[in-house]
């Protein structure tokens, strides 16, 4: 009886140690995969970089899906990229990281509604995330919806009152909204940041 117990214990230990070993081995492979993909990406070989990760692909791995999203996007495979990013989003729904990636293939495919929806989601999670705010502002500005653009640029400028890009974009938005006083103040502040800023100088000239 005693002997049976011992054997069982040994078998069990053996079983677990096999699992642990296998796991350690897989993680090692995945890390190697990442290592290789970085090297390939750096040398401009995106196809190899993708393959490196596909070889160790695990559907439930957030890092692999996220990186594959980026690599496929970089190599122009927008649908695939979208699908990897979506998987990453599904795995970590509160994360803004995969959403900020997802907008890349969406934008490349001209799916602006989806891009806007993603930025809104990001801002829902992280209301003061200036990159998302700025980009949303840019999208609306591009669509000539200055009223909406103003809302986002205004927030950027309130968060970063001395950031050239934010100042100039809000200034142009106000200019189009015929809020010349605000535009003037903003262009002038932008010039304090970059005294030779062409865009700000052009704006001020238009308002003279």
């Amino acid at each position: 009886m005693e002997t049976l117990k011992k054997i069982s214990l040994i078998v069990l230990l053996g079983f677990f140690s096999t699992i642990v070993y296998a796991q350690q081995n897989t993680e090692k492979k995945i890390i190697e995969g990442f290592q290789n993909s970085y090297l390939h990406e750096a040398s401009g070989n995106l196809a190899e970089a993708i393959l490196d990760l596909k070889n160790v692909y695990q559907a439930d791995s957030y890092p692999i899906n996220l990186r594959l999203g980026w690599l496929t996007y970089s190599s122009g495979m927008f649908s695939e990229s979208q699908s990897y990013y979506n998987k990453a989003v599904a795995l970590k729904p509160y994360a803004v990281e995969p959403r900020m990636g997802l907008v890349l293939p969406l934008a490349a495919m001209g799916n602006w509604d989806a891009v806007i929806a993603q930025y809104h989601k990001v801002l829902e999670i992280m209301p003061n995330y200036s990159v998302a705010l700025h980009r949303l502002g840019l999208i609306y500005y591009g669509q000539k919806d200055y009223e909406k653009a103003e809302k986002y640029f205004e927030k950027v400028v309130n968060l970063y009152p001395f950031d050239y890009d934010g100042l100039v974009m809000l200034a142009w938005t106000e200019f189009h909204l015929k809020k010349y006083r605000q535009a003037k103040v903003l262009f002038n502040t932008a010039l304090m940041h970059t005294p030779t800023g062409a865009s700000a100088l052009e704006g001020l000239k238009l308002m003279q």
Partner: protein, 733 residues
């Protein structure tokens, strides 16, 4: 001690005056003098502290200048000379950074705008037009263009770092609240409406818009609904013509439609179906003008502000001045109460009660009670252009007009009875010397017989015919007074039997055609009752008389300027009212405790209140309701009815909702009635009792009522018992 109290009262009234000037300048932006609304507007100007401050400084500057230069206090108190300066101050205050230099500029701009206001009042006022916000537009243009070269003025950063400003004021919560409001999912046009309201104060802020909308609603349901109608008509119009206007642009034009709509639909015109209709037709002009003016002015980077509103409203109001025919359906407001509702309810009440106010008060031309033997459109001679005439005879209790067989004129009761002047005037024409006819044989040659024509004014003459030869007591050109005997009744001319022919005509000739003109007041005697008729026409077979006044009533209702009335309430406090006359020669009672005023008219026959202003908790208000209209003769059980102005007596809550439809439809009524109940002695009375009451109706359903019992004795009104919703109140002399 007395002088100290006097000084205190004077100081308090000066503070009140200054407060009125300041606060009304805020509410006048929306044509209002409603204090809560003024406070709300003032409050939202301070959303940006310095803008609010410079606005306030502007109003103060205009107020001090106005007082120092001695301009009309009433106009100043209404805020009419201050609101343009306020707008100029707000415009500058929001544009430039606060500094001492800006303070100087704002004070100067306020003064400049104030002077334009005063001057425009003189220039445009001559044509009966309001200057609206032209002074502010001119003032602000002048200063904004000039300030471009003022280097000391820094352009304000406000409105850019809003979130930082809010964070300083109220931390994250305030920022969150602001963002919550900004992210509210409201339909675009609704957002634009609120933004437009805020743009009137140079802001672009949903919160301000919502606060102003709430203030507007509390001030006037009519103004609020007009603001929505005007705004959305223009909005619809833009979409209809496919104008390329962003909703942001629209917000900055929008107040033009809001203000035009309120001005035309409810403020300068009496709110009515026609006023609304015209407003709807005129709003597209404002919309078109907004686009075209903007296209021109934007070349110079000059904002048009409220210019389209000013142009169109003035254009329309000025055009109305050239109407040849006045119409109740589209009536201008001649006395401004600064509230569309008040203007409407007073207009409706006046139309009902005083539409004949400017009529000459022609009364019956005889003493005692006569019978109408032929009325207007009579079956014998009152036909065609002569149809608006009356024939009167005297009858006895059996209804007979003569004694014996009636074969001779002398047998007729009216024959040789005095005929009196029906109103003050001048004897214009006398025809005398025609003999009385034999009964039944009219003189067809001298149709009118002996006749007297009295001129009452250039367009009203009265003619009395078939008079007795040689009975004239007056001469041509002589002044006569109402009640003065002028001749005696006879049987001359086309008169088969003695009677008095009476007609009103527009020209002074014997053969002039008749005019349909009502008699100001008379009593109709029925079998067991009496009826007071005002501005009516006696009808065939009616027994009619002038009001025979009772000395007791005449003396109790004779209120002489300077007279003091004192009543003791049940709580043993004394209420004191003084009889006064204002600069417009209007008589009123003023309560010394509450300052409330009850305006009244008092002629030979009638006493009636016209208007009440002040606290409704004052006992004077009960007095106003109890004695709303009285005739000064005592006729047992006579009942008089009248209508109160709704805004004074109708329950506020129902009226509030009803206001929305009042311009089109009235489902409510506030009725007054008085009965002549008791007299202790018909010949030499020492006490008369009247009961009166107020009943409010919604359609035909009674909503509430009040009743009053008034006792009058030789010393005047001795007491009034009031029953108000089961509450008993007593006023004792």
């Amino acid at each position: 001690m007395k002088s100290v109290t006097h000084a205190f009262v004077e100081r308090r009234s000066r503070v009140n005056e200054l407060l009125d000037i300041i606060l009304n300048s805020y509410s006048q932006i929306f044509f209002s003098t409603h204090r809560p609304f003024a406070l709300l507007i003032m409050l939202v100007t301070f959303i940006d502290f310095y803008t609010g401050l410079f606005g306030l400084i502007s109003v103060l500057t205009a107020a001090v200048a106005g007082i120092m230069l001695g301009f009309n206090r009433v106009t100043m108190r209404k805020g009419l000379l201050g609101f343009n300066s306020l707008l100029a101050g707000l415009g500058l205050g929001i544009y430039f950074s606060p500094s001492v230099y800006l303070l100087i500029i704002v004070i100067l701009a306020s003064l400049f705008t104030f002077l334009i206001s005063v001057s425009l009042q003189g220039v445009i006022g001559k044509y009966g037009l309001p200057f609206l916000s032209i002074p502010f537009i001119l003032g602000l243009w002048a200063f904004m263009l000039a300030t471009k070269s003022f280097e000391v003025l820094g352009v304000s950063e406000r409105g850019i770092y809003t979130l930082n400003e809010l964070y300083t004021l109220g931390g994250t919560n305030l920022v969150k609240a602001y963002e919550y409001l900004n992210n509210l999912t409201l339909p675009d046009p609704v957002r634009a409406y609120f933004f437009s309201l805020s743009a009137i104060l140079f802001q672009y802020n949903l919160l301000t818009g919502i606060v102003i909308a709430v203030g507007l609603l509390s001030f006037s349901r009519i103004a609020f609904s007009l603001s929505l109608i005007g705004f959305f008509i223009a909005f619809g119009f833009y979409h209809l013509i496919g104008a390329e206007v962003t909703s942001y642009d629209y917000s900055f034009f929008g107040f033009n439609y809001i203000l035009s709509s309120i001005a035309l639909g409810g403020f300068f015109l009496i709110p009515s179906r026609n006023a609304y209709l015209w407003m709807i037709l005129v709003i597209p002009f404002v919309a078109i003008l907004t686009i075209s003016l903007n296209a021109v002015f934007m070349q110079f980077k000059i904002p048009i502000y409220a210019l389209p509103f000013n142009i169109v409203v003035m254009l329309f109001l000025y055009s109305l001045k050239f109407r040849e025919k006045y119409s109740y359906r589209l009536s201008e407001v001649y006395f401004q109460h600064n509230s569309p509702e008040k203007n409407l309810y007073i207009f409706l009440n006046n139309k009902e009660r005083f539409r004949y106010k400017l009529f000459t008060p022609i009364k019956l031309p005889f003493f005692g009670t006569w019978k109408v033997s032929q009325a207007h459109d009579g079956e014998h001679t009152h036909k065609g252009v002569y149809k608006h005439a009356w024939d009167f005879i005297l009858v006895n209790q059996e209804g007979k007009q003569f004694k014996n067989e009636g074969d001779y004129p002398e047998e007729y009761f009216c024959y040789n009875k005095p005929v009196i002047a029906p109103e003050d005037g001048v004897v214009e024409e006398i025809i005398d010397g025609i003999d009385d006819n034999v009964i039944g044989q009219p003189n067809l040659k001298d149709n009118w017989g002996n006749t007297l024509i009295i001129k009452h004014n250039n367009e009203v003459y009265s003619k009395l015919s078939h008079l007795k030869k040689g009975s004239f007591k007056v001469k041509k050109g002589e002044d006569v007074k109402f009640g003065q005997i002028v001749a005696n009744c006879g049987n001359s001319g086309r008169s088969p039997y003695p009677h008095l022919h009476f007609q009103i005509q527009q020209s002074p000739y014997i053969g002039s055609v008749t005019m349909d003109y009502p008699l100001s007041n008379y009593i109709v005697h029925e079998k067991d009752a009496f009826q007071l008729k005002t501005h009516s026409r006696p009808e065939k077979e009616q027994l009619v008389s002038n009001i025979e006044t009772s000395d007791l009533l005449v003396s109790a209702l004779s209120f002489i300027p300077g007279q003091i009335l004192e009543f003791k309430t049940e709580a043993d406090s004394i209420v004191t009212w003084e009889v006064k006359v204002n600069e417009y020669n209007q008589s009123y009672l003023q309560c010394k405790n509450t300052d409330a005023k009850a305006y009244f008219e008092n002629d030979q026959n009638l006493f009636y209140f016209t208007y009440y202003e002040g606290k409704k908790k004052s006992e004077l208000f009960y007095f106003f309701q109890a004695l709303f209209k009285l005739q000064k003769g005592y006729y047992q059980n006579l009942e008089i009815t009248d209508q109160y102005p709704l805004y004074l007596t109708y329950p506020k809550a129902i009226l509030w909702f009803h206001d929305f439809i009042s311009p089109f439809l009235l489902l409510i009524r506030s009725q007054y009635s008085v009965q002549y109940k008791k007299i202790d002695d018909a010949i030499t009375p020492s006490q008369i009792q009247l009961t009166s009451g107020l009943t409010n109706y919604f359609l035909k359903k009674k909503i509430n009522e009040k009743s009053f019992r008034i006792t009058i004795d030789r010393d005047g009104i001795s007491d009034i018992n009031i029953t108000d919703d089961n509450r008993q109140i007593k006023l004792i002399r």
